[in-house]
Amino acid sequence: MTSHEEKRSDKDTIGWILLVIGFVGALFVGWVIFPQVIFSKKTQPVNFSHVAHAQKAEMSCEDCHTFNDDGSYNGIPSLGSCAECHGEAQGETAAEKKFVEEFVAKEKQVPWLIYAEQPDSVYFSHAPHVKSAEMKCTGCHRDVTKESLAPPLYVNRITGYAKTIMKMDVCEDCHADKGTPNDCFTCHK
């Protein structure tokens, strides 16, 4: 018998082990590494605590998140609304100090990161959802009432969109359930 024959009868164990390693490794990369790496982590320019405003300051949601006369919605209030109370620091946190010094005093709008921001191609109006369908905020948005720290925004490095973005299928499913139109031009004008 030659070594050649021995090789042919070799079960190539290393190869099979490598196959398993490759397989498991790929699963690990795909399920664990990839989700970490694909998103960049961004934090708000200054912290905002919903708990402090809703509980301590005893404000309601509508005090900041309101409809305008023309039906458009103020998702994130502008500096002017905040400055109505925060012309001077109201409390003792470092975040508020930073807010008052770097933004209110300099009359600079805070470049808030928006968790629910949709692409340019999407037309969304809060009015039919909040006023007509009487949906709760938590129907689409995360529950902020227990948040004292603004969560980081995970942004997909390739697309630039947030990890938390609501994609089209979620809208379509609810529209289908409720019997509201799912025509293209309903949301893409």
């Binding site: 190539d12 190869g15 390693i21 490759g22 490794g25 795909g30 990839f34 390739i158």
Partner: protein, 759 residues
């Protein structure tokens, strides 16, 4: 154990197999697709806060108050009506809604231009600075030495204070060669002067009319102040009966309660046929007619010239239909007859305007509730007197004669054009273009590179829609005085100025004797000087939503001034218009007799009215051999096609149906009966010929067209502007016949003899 290629491959297979059982490949594919949609060159408008600004639309003489939706106060994204404005009451028409496309369009002239090569060569226009442009043109004006014959001017629409300033400039330069773009308002003015003694176009108290007889007016197609008419007629709960007298089934005819199909061009004869019936059957308003003068002769004139059979023959309408409409008209009070074919911009004869006014007089609807009255003007202060006498007291000069005389001999040295496009239309553009060749210097004040600007030596670019500053007086057809401030809604895009400012600067550069008549620092000051008159009149009020709607609903509304001084008035004018709905409708007749007069004799004072009594229809019929040109071509003004001084925006061109415009081919409407005789099928290309020229069109077969008549929309057939409009369709103005009303020298056009043949 050895590491071989095979083992490596097994590793790869494992990895590839494994990765497919993870989200990675699927997410990456999706991400890649989205990434490819977000490349840097994708055109995305900048985000910004949504704000709005109030102003007045300048795209037609309708004078609608509008609200412009803006992003970051800079970029206009939409137009809606101003709910507190008494003209628009919150609505806009399609042209107004397309407004931003005029502003942002490709044909805007962005800086002053001077033609340094051959006239008409776009590429040899050179940019020059404003100071230089004004200096050069001003010097040319000054060099005329006050000799009016050396200057001529074509002015744009009535109703704007910048137009009035332009007229003033021409008079100050000693010239009476000022031609306004002709419209039916010209003959209406003279008819009103003859019969009421007040020289003004017709206005109508539509909100109170219960029977509206439209003599060929495009009531829902842009006539008068289109949005106001629409709001008023549709706003009163269907209590008003609308009867349309028109040769075709226009959209107005289709929407009317009754359509009387007459031969084109015979609407006024129909009116007098009705008048004859009303008189003979004793259905006229005894009170009003009793207090008028000239009725006896008018009655004889009607009986002799407009017997029922004659009118029936000429108009192509059954005698009993004439009688029926006449009895209806005289039986419902208040009834009113409207005049002004199409949008009211088709100029017509003194005869026609007087026929309509006489018909109204017979039923007592002159200066009465629901009737017609001379358009009341707001009590603006006059600008200081000029040394030169304004020719408004004189008889109008004939535009056609003037053009012909230039073409035949020599022209003025300078021709000034203000916001008009006479090289395209509406009157004799072919003749105008020939006459241009004899003019040394052509100066165009306007916003777009249209046919006239293209042929100019200097183009002085004016601010456009949403940018400009101006004053707008009572819109066409409105029965109470209105003054609107057209204020800039956004910062101007280019190096342009308001037309009023340009005219003012030219005046100041044209020599001391001229400049003396223009003592204001700037255009705003000149506007304020006029507005001061409203303050001093202590009448009217700046409207709000409640008042505007109450007036539109016919509720008798009394208003009192809500401004103390000019500053307060000016501030309020930024939000809405001043108006005086309480002004009485009754007419203070200024005729020699002090009474309403059924005759044109009163025009002798301005050198017209050769004949005593009532004028007759134009002596000259349309020229051309009826055998060679057996059809009649009638131009049609569509709601969505703006007037001749504006080239339609892309939105408007897109709104044309496939049976109106396909690619670059315009469709002429023809009755199937006529088409069959000519062996023309739907969509066939045809040669539309008149004695004046020929166009290539496609035919659209429709029962809405009267047999023997060809209808062609105006507003297409441009040879200037940009790719969105240039070379689309054909221009009927090139082939229509322009007739001269011998009574008044005014231009009249409504059609031409025509033939259609297969191409």
């Amino acid at each position: 154990m050895k590491l071989t290629r095979r083992s490596f491959i097994k590793f790869a297979v494992g990895a590839v197999g494994g990765i497919h059982l993870t989200p990675l490949p699927w997410y990456l594919m999706d991400d890649a697709a989205i990434w490819s949609q977000n490349w840097w060159f994708r055109q995305v408008p900048k985000k910004g806060a949504l704000t709005s600004a109030t102003t007045v639309c300048t795209l037609c003489p309708g004078g609608c108050g509008i609200e412009a939706g803006l992003i970051s106060e800079k970029r206009a994204i939409g137009i809606s009506g101003n709910t507190s404005h008494p003209v628009s009451m919150g609505a806009v028409c399609p042209i107004g809604a397309s407004g931003p496309q005029f502003t942002y369009g490709l044909s805007r002239v962005k800086t002053p231009l001077k033609q340094t090569g051959k006239r008409g060569d776009r590429s040899s226009f050179k940019k020059i600075g404003w100071d230089k442009a004004i200096e050069e043109v001003g010097a040319k004006l000054a060099s005329l030495g006050g000799n009016g014959e050396r200057l001529a001017a074509v002015g744009g629409a009535r109703g704007s204070l910048s137009s009035e300033l332009f007229s003033r400039l021409i008079w100050a330069l000693g010239s009476d060669n000022l031609f306004r773009v002709p419209s039916s308002a010209d003959s209406e003015e003279l008819a009103s002067l003859a019969m009421t003694g007040v020289r003004a176009p017709f206005s109508y108290d539509l909100v109170n009319s219960r029977y509206v007889l439209s003599l060929g007016c495009g009531v829902f197609e842009g006539w008068g102040s289109p949005v106001w008419v629409h709001q008023t007629l549709f706003g009163n709960n269907g209590e008003t009966r609308l009867v349309q007298v028109d040769s075709r089934m226009s959209p107005t005819a289709a929407a009317a309660d009754r359509w009387v199909a007459v031969e084109p061009g015979t609407e006024a004869v129909f009116a007098l046929g009705m008048a004859n019936v009303i008189v003979q059957q004793g259905l006229y308003d005894r009170g009003f007619v009793g207090s008028a003068s000239g009725f006896g002769e008018f009655r004889r004139y009607l009986a002799e010239e407009y017997p029922l059979d004659f009118v029936s023959d000429l108009c192509g309408v059954e005698p009993r239909e004439i009688v029926s409409v006449a009895r209806e008209f005289a039986g419902v009070r208040p009834a009113v007859a409207l005049w002004g074919r199409g949008k009211g911009s088709m100029p017509d004869t003194l005869f026609s305007a007087m026929a309509a006014l006489a018909l109204n007089g017979l039923v007592g609807s002159v200066g009465a509730r629901g009737g017609v009255l001379p358009t009341p003007q707001p009590p603006l202060a006059d600008w200081p007197d000029l040394a030169e006498v304004a020719p408004s007291a004189q008889s109008p000069k004939s535009y056609l004669d003037f053009l012909s005389s230039i073409e035949a001999a020599s022209g003025p040295e300078v021709l000034l054009i203000n916001q008009a496009n006479p090289a395209y239309g509406p009157v004799a553009p072919a003749l105008f273009k020939k006459a241009l060749a004899k003019v040394s210097t052509v100066v165009c004040i306007g916003s777009y590179m249209d046919e006239t600007a293209l042929s100019a030596d200097y183009v002085l670019p004016a601010d456009a829609f949403l940018e400009t500053l101006d004053g707008a007086v009572t819109p066409r057809g409105m029965p109470y005085p209105v003054f609107s401030l057209v204020s800039p809604a956004l910062e101007r895009l280019y190096d342009t100025k308001p037309a009023g400012e340009i005219i003012l600067r030219l005046a100041k550069a044209a020599g001391d004797s001229v400049a003396g008549g223009f003592p204001w620092e700037n255009w705003e000051e000149a506007l304020k000087a006029r507005a001061q008159g409203i303050v001093e009149s202590k009448r009217g009020a700046v409207s709000d939503e409640e008042t505007a709607f109450a007036v539109a609903e016919g509720k008798g509304v009394k208003v009192a001034p809500n401004f103390g001084d000019l500053d307060e008035l000016w501030g309020k004018l930024g939000e809405s218009a001043w108006f005086d709905p309480g002004q009485k409708l009754a007419v203070d007749f200024q005729t020699n007799s002090g009474r309403f007069t059924f005759s044109a004799a009163g025009l002798k004072g301005i050198g017209l009215g050769k004949k005593n009594g009532f004028p007759r229809p134009l002596d000259a019929p349309l020229s051309g051999d009826p055998k060679k040109f057996p059809l009649i071509l009638v131009p049609v003004e569509l709601l969505i096609m703006p007037g001749e001084s504006l080239g339609a925006a892309p939105y408007l061109v897109k709104m044309l149906r496939d049976d109106q415009l396909t690619h670059n081919d315009v469709y002429a409407d023809v009755s199937p009966r006529t088409a069959k005789k000519l062996r023309l099928k739907q969509g066939a290309m045809a040669r539309l010929a008149t004695p004046q020229g020929a166009l290539i069109v496609r035919v659209n077969l429709t029962e809405a067209a009267r047999p023997g008549v060809v209808y062609l929309p105006v507003g297409l057939g441009h040879t200037a502007y940009d790719k969105f409009l240039k070379n689309k369709g054909a221009n009927p103005y090139e082939v229509l016949e322009f007739l001269k009303d011998k009574e008044t020298n005014e231009v009249s056009w409504w059609g031409a003899r025509a033939s259609l043949s297969k191409v």
